[in-house]
């Protein structure tokens, strides 16, 4: 991300930043869940088990 954009985000009101942190957390969990699903389907015989997908 460009420094100008980072500075702009830094100047947002705290309440707005906290909402964005919540969005980042949700996004990172979605990405993680997708990776786990993909790993699980790519290696079905590996014994890899995703408890959240069952």
């Amino acid at each position: 991300m460009k420094p100008g954009m980072r500075h702009k985000l830094a100047r947002l009101p705290f309440e707005e930043k906290i909402l964005k942190v919540g969005e980042l957390i949700r996004l990172s969990r979605r990405v993680k869940a997708r990776r786990v699903r993909e790993a699980s389907s790519n290696y079905p015989q590996s014994g890899f088990h995703n408890p959240k997908s069952s």
Partner: protein, 168 residues
């Protein structure tokens, strides 16, 4: 650990900390850790809140059992080392030395109508310099570039606590 919270319930956390002060269970507190840094810099991912408190109870337990039972009576859950509010993990950390000074000099804020305090950036930097993990060094860099730092204050804190910034 459950991870189903949809938004960070920071106002609830701060309200609860204010109640602990009113109940005399803690003397003072401030928001520390990543969320304190985010007050000054761009938002980044963090998965818990750190409430750093000055204990009323000066014994070794720092009054933590009473804090836990008070919050549990308000519906908070205990999950490993965290207290959970709306499934969001919160660390209650007893202040001492540098962190106690950070609480006493914290900046007063209002968050969603709740009065609270947040560590000043100079103290966040000093604490991060003392811990020195990769993420602490990244936090120092963010604070140095994204917010106004009182360099005289920072130098004074670092000198008194025998700390150094990385690469200095």
């Amino acid at each position: 650990m459950s991870d189903e919270f949809s938004t960070i319930p920071l106002a609830d956390v701060l309200r609860a900390a204010n109640e602990l002060v009113s109940a005399g269970l803690i003397e003072d507190y401030a928001l520390g850790g990543a969320l304190a840094a985010i007050y000054y810099v761009e938002p980044f991912t963090t998965y818990d809140a750190d409430i750093v408190f000055v204990a009323t109870d000066k014994t070794l337990s720092a009054g933590i059992p009473a804090i836990y039972s008070h919050l549990q009576s308000k519906g908070w859950r205990v999950e490993r080392e965290h207290l959970m509010v709306n499934d969001f993990p919160v660390h209650f950390l007893a202040a001492s030395g540098l962190t106690e000074e950070a609480v006493r000099h914290a900046k007063a804020i209002v968050y969603e109508g709740v009065l609270a305090k947040v560590f000043r950036p100079e103290y966040i930097i000093a604490i991060a310099a003392g811990v020195g993990r990769h993420k602490d060094l990244a936090r120092i860099e963010q604070l140095m570039t994204q917010t106004k730092i009182d360099n005289a204050l920072l130098d004074d804190i670092l000198r008194r606590h025998n700390l150094r910034l990385p690469n200095s």
